[in-house]
Symmetry: D2
Subunit: 358 residues, 4 copies
Amino acid sequence: MDLRNDSLDQLHEDLANANMAPTWKYVSEFVAREPKVSYRPWLWRWDDVIPLLMRAGDLITPERGAERRSMEHVNPDLKPFYSTSHTIATAFQLVRAGETAPAHRHMAGAIRFAARSKGGTVYTKVQGERLMMEENDLLLTPTGTWHEHANETQNDIIWLDALDFPLVNMMQASWFMPGEGQVCPDKPDDYSRRQLGLYRPVGTGGYPESHPVLRYPWVEMKEALLNASKGPGSAFDGTILEYVNPINSGSTLPTMSCRAQLLKAGSKTKAHRATSSTVYFVIGGEGVSIINGSEFHWGRGDVFVAPTWSWHEHHCKGEDAFLFSITDQPVLQMLGMFREEALEENDGHQQVASRFTP
Amino acid sequence: MDLRNDSLDQLHEDLANANMAPTWKYVSEFVAREPKVSYRPWLWRWDDVIPLLMRAGDLITPERGAERRSMEHVNPDLKPFYSTSHTIATAFQLVRAGETAPAHRHMAGAIRFAARSKGGTVYTKVQGERLMMEENDLLLTPTGTWHEHANETQNDIIWLDALDFPLVNMMQASWFMPGEGQVCPDKPDDYSRRQLGLYRPVGTGGYPESHPVLRYPWVEMKEALLNASKGPGSAFDGTILEYVNPINSGSTLPTMSCRAQLLKAGSKTKAHRATSSTVYFVIGGEGVSIINGSEFHWGRGDVFVAPTWSWHEHHCKGEDAFLFSITDQPVLQMLGMFREEALEENDGHQQVASRFTP
Amino acid sequence: MDLRNDSLDQLHEDLANANMAPTWKYVSEFVAREPKVSYRPWLWRWDDVIPLLMRAGDLITPERGAERRSMEHVNPDLKPFYSTSHTIATAFQLVRAGETAPAHRHMAGAIRFAARSKGGTVYTKVQGERLMMEENDLLLTPTGTWHEHANETQNDIIWLDALDFPLVNMMQASWFMPGEGQVCPDKPDDYSRRQLGLYRPVGTGGYPESHPVLRYPWVEMKEALLNASKGPGSAFDGTILEYVNPINSGSTLPTMSCRAQLLKAGSKTKAHRATSSTVYFVIGGEGVSIINGSEFHWGRGDVFVAPTWSWHEHHCKGEDAFLFSITDQPVLQMLGMFREEALEENDGHQQVASRFTP
Amino acid sequence: MDLRNDSLDQLHEDLANANMAPTWKYVSEFVAREPKVSYRPWLWRWDDVIPLLMRAGDLITPERGAERRSMEHVNPDLKPFYSTSHTIATAFQLVRAGETAPAHRHMAGAIRFAARSKGGTVYTKVQGERLMMEENDLLLTPTGTWHEHANETQNDIIWLDALDFPLVNMMQASWFMPGEGQVCPDKPDDYSRRQLGLYRPVGTGGYPESHPVLRYPWVEMKEALLNASKGPGSAFDGTILEYVNPINSGSTLPTMSCRAQLLKAGSKTKAHRATSSTVYFVIGGEGVSIINGSEFHWGRGDVFVAPTWSWHEHHCKGEDAFLFSITDQPVLQMLGMFREEALEENDGHQQVASRFTP
């Protein structure tokens, strides 16, 4: 070509034809000054959702071949991804008295939180180890582990699932394998906790598993929270504790950190934001969280999400409130992308502009 | 409602209205049996691309305010993301004799590979340390580090940039800050390598930086490859070495591992695939890589991408060939999502079905 | 000098005068083919020792200014060092009803094992945290931590101390500081376990202490042992579990690993030896350990030591037996000096040549 | 016995008979308030020592079966241990032109520092890898590694050995194995540095060795020191750099950290002390170190030791001086026993009370 007549327009056209893009033209589209977040905060009320789950309890029977009677919390901005935040998907699952589900495994890592359980022999079995589910217990099913469940009691159980499949799908790394027959040898109940947590076999070359603790009983976490609440706590979260994987002093799963927090009666926390997203489940109590200037009123059993980089603060109304939450913060930290900041103005409190209604 | 007339259709409708999704209906859309990969392998020929870059050299002058004269390799399936694989974006950048670019910093981590340099005082300055760029040297600009560059010679330089901004954008965590004046105190040239690599100040509380080595000279890597090539090498990659961050024995950046490999004259490797993607730059030599059954013929200066879960194998034609590559494997490993497999059939070689043309 | 008349003898003399030593002459004195161990196995019977301790209970009163009413198990070969093995010193300590001891701290790290306790408010306070002592509980007082104790009950308590002061003294690094008044702010009881073990405060920059768990209740360890005993166990030790520091997945202290083991009724283990030494305390049951060919018969409350590189195996007589033990194995491992081997001959059992009597 | 007549004297006698020791009586003997150090600082002059070594060169011929023509620096207070400090033993070794020594290995870890070498094919071979010895190069022979050497040049070589055998012997863990024939397969020269340092084979499960770098050339260290000397340096040591093991960002060996330092012409450092001991070798220059109030004048080739907890400071006389040193600091740190302090009084300088003469 005759370069004397060359022009930027011509170059841009030729670049497009060559599957190249001029950085000088498009850089602001792929390097933003601040996080551009694609989804909004949202809240799902227990009273709206559970009736739907109970209807599924009648309509979806084991005989019809449904192994998984669960319902995803789908952020209205994330419909194509079936997810709650951009990296985390939560769901409620119902297992009726006497039901069982066969084993399977998959790339996605998951946790289960026993939202409503009367105890007894209701369990998730992970890699051959039965993990009993008392109310508000936390269970892990890490990536690639065989898991199945059974409810051998006379009562229904409802639990909260949280999976990292949105992250798996971003990575384009999904993988699923159904089990057949016995997938791995049985271990004693609570094997991981008793044998691999603080009391480890000698002479076996260290921990045989990457997740030495698969169950964290609520009675322990609650006692820890009550003890910790005698101290000062966090300005942003009240008394908040992270469930720890003792093998590496890290989070429950590499992709999801689980936490529980106690907001004292009448307390108000200050607002902050971070390059991480968090999904909350209300264990008990009532309150309101202000997320990006909008009030989210919550009570027992509700689920809500604070997106990446959203300002959020919590106010507890009435009695002490307990929240359980799942955050992708460890992912951001591993990638070197975690940043956080406190709200400076107005003594750390947002101006309330609206009240959320679903 | 009258539950005697309830139906799955009605439930599904009610769930949608409640921003819930029935897992039993949609699970296969978010939990796939195998990786569903959204983009194809591709190749950009040096001879096609560099004339475009040289035209930009004339059209984009520093006076016009363009700080960054570079061009992205955009996979035709990833146009909205301006990226080469789903996690990695590469580009060629041209810096003309006498040009400089002021400092900035951003969330995205980056590496630079000096594709064409005649040496001299051409450098990228990272956190106050000048890193000289001899041909095929590797330089790091980790997340959040100030970087700027200058070409004080009489010759143009062209380098390959690789950034993790697609991953930053997936995480919705972008952040950018332009610099003004002197952004940080000057350090001696090659400070990180000489002071923080194998020879570290005592009594300073350990390494002051998370990346103790910011420059890896090609003369060292080439010598290492030649030494290593006396050994057996990898069935899939010939002689392949990873650039190591000595502070944690890990990859160059947490998000991107850099590698160089030597394919001996006439050698053929076997096919494998993994839940990671790789972008290649041809340092020298000629050959053909078969990716998902299609032939990609390459020569010096070409760039090509092997997507996640793509079968790939390399054949060297003529003299010894040298490839430089960037892979997101460390991300998959940190997340617990790395899997790989060898091709079993046909002695590890794919059936060739087509030949790539851009 | 006239070197024509030089001789080795003359050279050796001249070297000695120059404070040099000829390696060729003395190398076998400082580089031995096998560990040269300077001390023998030994056993202290509860029934011999405790009457002495009770006499001290009468003779050593708090009024006489004795803060520490304890008695060291001194290996007859290690008298100058007041120690049980070359790296570990154990002692029995008696704290009478109503007694207290003020705080102090020292370089030596220590553990306490509550050999006889009726529970109640009897505690060691470490860094402001009260650790209650139920029978057979394990408590840590790591290097440099303030510790004091009190027995507010109506009963005496006897515990086993194990300290690493022999190692501190080898390193010539001893250091001691008595406390005055309140040495550090009070924390809630069992703070470390509840707040720093599996449930950790968020946003505090991680664990505030290097030892997040300071107390390991016997009820937990015993349950873990009983569970683990359903599995195969170790050929050399029966069912044996190590107390784990969850912050680094390491041993209780960097210098001493604590363990508990269950020897099933009638069981016989095989002999092995290692470059580590171990002191045992018999929690319950009766048996005999064969150490370097000599029988050591033991029952509840006895203490015995297996020196470095000593062959040892255990036979349980009567009911299930429980042993607590302390070993310097982590030191040897950190230094890169840990080696172990199994006895090959005679199906792994030593020839018994003698029976130990004190 | 009749306890009404009991007495402390009687109890002490009975305790001794029972191989027990009363803590209240002896505690100050095993828990000192400050480090009790058993040995003094000392200095060996090159000019005194090397003539002895050369005489050994004539008297100890390979034919007489001496594999190791070396001479230990024996602290006059540590004669039974043949060591320089309580944990470190150094020696000078002479290998004459054309000599070789067969392979052996032992528990003790060692380093070699090429005090006088004219280069050429003079090497230590470690695990099959030849490490060439240019003057002042540092070489590692970690615990348990096969090593042998050869001097294929026309010149003698003298090197400094430093071994951790005093520590091995404290731990009673010595072990030695002579080699016969070829002890392990040959590797390329400088294999560890080139293949395992900053450039690591992919797909081999990480580093195959615990010490990925076995040789540190003086040309690199010297350049690093000169660069670092443009910065402020340490108040106690001038410009001082530690040789780093990149696999774990740790010291050269777990038992010994190696360092080199540059004392600028005329400079004076301040005094400090620590619970670690250090042996120095003077690479070049002249100066005086004040150790515990005594002057130690040194010049090229001298060796001197600063014991644990000794105050020490350095004054450089004349031109820039370079020191090489070996310290047991990493051992103290691993054990949790490292403490250090600066001299407060007299602006950080000791009162000089004497001048050392051997």
